[in-house]
């Protein structure tokens, strides 16, 4: 039995896929571990991934795609914020949602897609950024930050606890200055909970969407499958999953605007 085998036994719990044994010779710098590692390295030489064409959008920076959609969306110029019933200009709202490499938390989890929706003159504009290489992250984050204005009001669903801290961490890691901490941020999760806890089986966005807003999604990709879909694209295996993630994310940010109107309506009743 060699160290590969040893590792496999010891590492069961550590979330590493088993190492596939097949001979390969390391030509890298020799260290005191070369011998042991060479055994570890008896892994299949991964063929250089084929670069797949991005499933949608235009390339706006190295490794970053931008997808834009415009939807008709008739609504009043003002929105009512549920808690304090303050009226604000709808054009200030920026609904956003991220798709991330996982739910584990910590600085090693990153967003590979950021979707935002904003409104002007009965039109809802959806813009989505996503990564086609890891190296595109800093540019994607910079573009997102460039969309924020001083009077922007961020809108999210559980974004105060999840999306915003995650983005702040990645921005810090990429040394990009940003105004996220200063901007107003309304998280629909809390007012939704106040209204629907005990009424609906749970307060997931998909439940609210289906049971309250009566929005039906076709062929929706469950959020939990998003990380794997993006990885499959990154590794040159398939871009079909990623296309579905785009659709899912676009729906989410549109729903954010609708949910705001619904909650505002309840509040002003």
């Amino acid at each position: 039995m060699n160290i590969t085998e040893q590792l496999r036994r010891l590492r069961k719990d550590l979330g590493i896929a088993p190492i596939v044994a097949s001979p390969a010779v390391s030509t890298q710098e020799t260290t005191p571990y070369a011998e042991a590692l060479r055994r570890l390295l008896r892994t299949r030489e991964r063929a250089h991934p084929v670069k797949l064409p991005p499933p949608a959008g235009k390339t706006v920076a190295e490794g970053v795609q931008l997808v834009e959609h415009v939807h008709a969306y008739e609504a009043s110029d003002d929105v009512v914020l549920p808690r304090d019933e303050a009226r604000i200009d709808r054009r200030r709202l920026l609904c956003f949602d991220t798709e991330t490499t996982g739910l584990a938390g910590g600085v090693g989890t990153r967003a590979f897609m950021i979707g935002v929706a904003d409104w002007s003159e009965n039109r809802l504009r959806v813009r989505q950024l996503y990564l086609t290489t890891m190296a595109g992250e800093a540019e994607m984050l910079r573009l997102f930050v460039s969309w924020l204005r001083d009077d922007t009001v961020l809108v999210s669903y559980n974004g105060k606890s999840y999306d915003a801290p995650l983005l702040k961490g990645r921005l810090r890691l990429n040394r990009i200055a940003h105004p996220l901490a200063e901007l107003a941020h309304v998280d629909w999760l809390h007012p939704t909970r106040r209204v629907y806890r005990g009424v609906l089986p749970n307060c997931k966005l998909s439940t609210i969407e289906r049971d309250v807003l009566r929005i039906v999604r076709e062929d929706d990709l469950p959020g939990a499958e998003a990380p794997a879909a993006w990885l499959a694209y990154l590794r040159g295996q398939s871009s079909r999953g990623l296309a579905r993630v785009l659709e899912h994310n676009r729906q989410d940010v549109v729903t954010l605007m609708r949910l705001g109107d619904h909650l505002g309506e309840l509040a002003s009743r």
Binding site: Q6, L10, G15, I16, G105, G106, P165
Partner: protein, 797 residues
């Protein structure tokens, strides 16, 4: 500074110590094999540094500090010069000022931040209490917080932003701070000092992990553009500077001369009386420790008794409570203290000790560190703690600054213990052991490179510590946790790697012990994974504060043991055995007529049953079966072998040869343990076939027995091949760097073992040389001891 009452107390306590020693010498003179007196040491002072701000000096004066001790000043000077330092001074020598002075000064003058790391939560809390008092004395405006697993999540944000001094432990740094370093960005950007106390505890497996956590910390610091100065503190060990440098990977200035005064220290080496001279059997250490503790408590001396295991803590506590706490209406005078108790219970015992409301505490090594428990008079060590360094550390828990103190080392029948008490001159002059770490141990390294990659991406050609990481990155990419793009290696997996790496043990997941007496569901203790199989099997008696509970159900997967109160008059002790198989040879050489190899082995540990042992009489009153999963281990080992032909020529029978192997293994394990500062069970021994076909164990009389791999008895005729192998192995997956250096000195080990066994005073073998031997051998037959000597000579060049 001393007032008349203090003087009076000091004198009377000094007299009491001497009176007690005289009484024991008169009554039990033959049990005292050594009497050491370490003279009192006067203080060496130094002036406050000129650059010390006025308010800080005033705060100190208000706390009764009018000058510094020489080592405190030395630390200030070197830290100010930007050097990393390690301060090596005894308990209660005021080492905390060595780091608090420069830190508080930097916090006040430059709004710098500091991170303090202690090995335990208790020490961290002590430290914050002390900082707060100093802070209050001078209205210094320094904000110090503990940050540990008990910190509520709503307080964490405030601590990250507002804390000037964050007091935590290596585990939290590893699992909660570094993997979230962006949340700590402000803290890291101003981080100027990192204080790591009790660094002598960071040795072996734990130390190797901590060295890697420090590598990660330095990597994150570099990202934020800071290069903090490290201030380390250690109890006395043989190689403080080298150890500190190994932990940091940088050069460190060592401060080893304490300027603090120290009371006279009396130390007795105590060997229990021989009860069976032929067999070399002595009365138990436990019986002696009990007697000494009783005398000390009756003489109104505050006493601490150190026991080697949690079980022994409970047994000794019960016996002392039976004497002193038999009136339930009165407050308890005796308490137990050990890991596994809930934090609140331990804090309460610490408080009771400080305020002097209890008279004796029985503890494991948990109180060996600098937890503030106030001044004690007598320390009784029930058994040699395994190293000279730990012995002095424990003896040091009795006696503060000016009072004389008394320490007694009570030897058990173990070979190491007997060696120490029979060679008082060795004990007196022996330098404390070296602390060893192996930060580049393959598995540990891979774990931390994984964690480091999560925290910040690597680039090809990067180093981790001094090591190029490219090959590791390749391995991690192949297993799918990293993604490589050009020069960059980014974390890609949906996992939190630090969560799966425990610094203190291999397998994660403590067991909780749940009391369900009368339908309750109360958690009464926690047991680490490694000891669960030995203490929580169904039927086991598990004791908390000497109250016995019986394990009714063990949920191995759920990591829970359900117990209920019992009135059993016995306790239980697990029977376990290990079988080994050689997987790979790294190196080998001739050893006399045989060979010695170093390589990799597979160990299976099996708990087969348990013994029921009656309180007080310690007779074995029955057995119970245990069915638990085997625990497996791949580790490094060194082993000795002889050809079948050589063995047949040298020994009259296979039985004799096997006895020789078992005795030699015992002696070699003893001398090897002296050579490495092996923690408890870090180094293990075994005798078996080398291919796991059979292994050898001793029967109740100390004779060798064959056992098949399934633990059924076998006989010598079972196999035509006879290939006994003597193993010493690292008790840690992948090895922890003990076997390899031992292999290099294998011939010295053999000659040391020969002299140990040959110079023993027993007749046929005893626990001090080849292990316990019971029952007399027939006349004309060689003894266990002779067989071991004969075997060892075959390996002697």
């Amino acid at each position: 500074m001393s007032n008349p009452t203090e003087l009076l107390v000091r004198e009377s306590s000094g007299l009491m110590v001497e009176r007690l020693v005289d009484r024991w010498a008169e009554k039990y003179g033959d049990r005292i094999t050594g009497y050491l007196r370490r003279p009192a040491r006067a203080a060496r002072h130094a002036e406050f540094p000129a650059e010390l701000p006025h308010e800080l000096r005033e705060a100190l004066e208000r706390r009764g500090v009018e000058r510094l001790y020489s080592h405190q000043r030395e630390a200030w000077d070197h830290v100010h010069a930007g050097e990393h330092v390690v301060v090596v001074t005894p308990t209660a020598s005021g080492k905390t000022l060595c780091y608090n002075l420069p830190v508080i000064n930097a916090v006040r003058s430059a709004r710098a931040k500091a991170l303090y790391l202690f090995p335990t939560k208790a020490l961290a809390q002590d430290q914050v209490a002390e900082l707060l008092e100093l802070n209050k004395a001078g209205a210094l405006g320094v904000r110090a917080f503990t940050f540990d697993g008990d910190t509520p999540s709503d307080a964490r944000e405030a601590i990250r932003v507002k804390g000037d001094i964050v007091v935590s432990n290596p585990d939290m740094l590893h699992q909660a701070i570094l993997p979230h370093h962006t949340k700590w960005a402000q803290f890291f950007e101003s981080l100027r000092y990192v204080v790591i106390d009790e660094v002598h505890t960071y040795r072996g497996v734990f130390g190797s992990h901590v060295a890697n956590v420090i590598r990660r910390l330095k990597r994150v610091c570099a990202f934020y553009g800071v290069k903090p100065v490290f201030i380390l503190c250690s109890a006395t060990i043989g190689n403080p500077q080298a150890h500190a440098e190994a932990l940091l990977g940088e050069s460190v200035h060592a401060i080893t001369e304490s300027g603090a005064p120290c009371g006279e220290r009396h130390v007795l080496l105590w060997n229990p009386p021989v009860v069976n001279p032929d067999l070399g059997i002595r009365a138990s250490a436990r019986s002696q420790s009990m007697r000494l503790a009783r005398h000390a408590v009756r003489a109104k001396m505050k006493t601490i008794v150190f026991a080697q295991s949690r079980l022994m803590v409970e047994v000794l506590t019960k016996y002392l409570k039976d004497v002193f706490d038999n009136d339930p209406r009165k407050p308890a005078r005796i308490r137990a203290y050990r890991g596994g108790y809930l934090p609140t219970e331990r804090r309460e015992t610490e408080r009771a000790l400080r305020s002097g409301t209890i008279d004796a505490v029985v503890s494991t090594s948990a109180l060996e560190l600098g937890v503030d428990i106030g001044a004690l008079d007598v320390a009784i060590l029930n058994g040699f703690p395994g190293s000279i360094a730990a012995t002095w550390q424990r003896l040091g828990r009795a006696g503060r600054r000016l009072q004389p103190s008394l320490g007694v080392l009570v030897a058990s029948s173990q070979a190491l213990d007997q060696y120490i008490v029979r060679h008082p001159e060795f004990f007196e002059s022996a330098p404390p052991e070296n602390a060893r770490i192996a930060p580049d141990q393959l598995l540990i390294l891979l774990d931390h490179i994984r964690c480091a990659a999560f925290e910040l991406p690597f680039n090809s050609g990067d180093r981790f510590g001094e090591l190029p990481v490219d090959e590791f990155l390749g391995v991690l990419a192949e297993s799918g946790v990293l993604h490589n793009e050009g020069e960059r290696w980014d974390w890609i997996a949906d996992s939190y790697p630090a969560g799966a790496v425990s610094l203190r043990s291999v397998a994660d997941g403590n067991f909780v012990v749940i009391d369900r007496t009368d339908g309750r569901q109360t958690i009464i203790a926690e047991v680490d994974y490694g000891s669960a199989a030995l203490t929580l099997y169904e039927g086991a008696i598990y004791m908390v504060q000497s109250r016995p509970y019986q394990v009714e159900l063990l949920d191995w997967i759920g990591r829970k043991a359900y117990v209920s109160k019992t009135n059993a008059d016995y306790y239980t002790d697990a029977i376990d055995y290990n079988k080994l198989k050689v997987l790979d040879r790294f190196d080998g050489s001739n050893a006399g007529q045989g060979t010695c190899h170093h390589g990799e082995v597979h160990v299976v540990r099996h708990v087969s049953g348990y013994k029921k042992i009656k309180f007080y009489t310690h007779e074995n009153i029955g057995y119970g079966p245990v069915t638990l999963p085997d625990q497996e281990l791949h580790t490094s080992s060194l082993w000795w072998q002889l050809s079948q032909q050589t063995l047949e020529q040298a020994f009259g029978s296979r039985q004799e040869a096997l006895d020789g192997f078992l005795g030699a293994a015992y002696a070699l394990h003893t001398v090897a343990s002296v050579r490495v500062m092996a923690d408890g069970g870090d180094l293990q021994k075994a005798v078996g076939s080398g291919d796991a076909a059979w292994y050898a164990a001793r029967d109740l009389r100390g004779r060798g027995q064959w056992r098949r791999a399934d633990n059924s008895a076998a006989t010598t005729q079972d196999s035509s091949e006879f290939n006994p192998t003597l193993f010493l192995y690292d008790n840690f997956p992948g090895g922890i760097g003990l076997s390899e250096p031992l292999f290099r000195i294998a011939s010295t080990l053999v000659s040391d073992a020969i002299s140990l066994v040959e110079s023993c005073e027993c007749s046929g073998g005893c626990p001090a040389c080849v292990g316990p031997v019971a029952g007399e051998d027939a006349a004309g037959v060689s003894t266990q001891r002779e067989r071991a000597i004969q075997l060892l000579h075959l390996f002697d060049a």
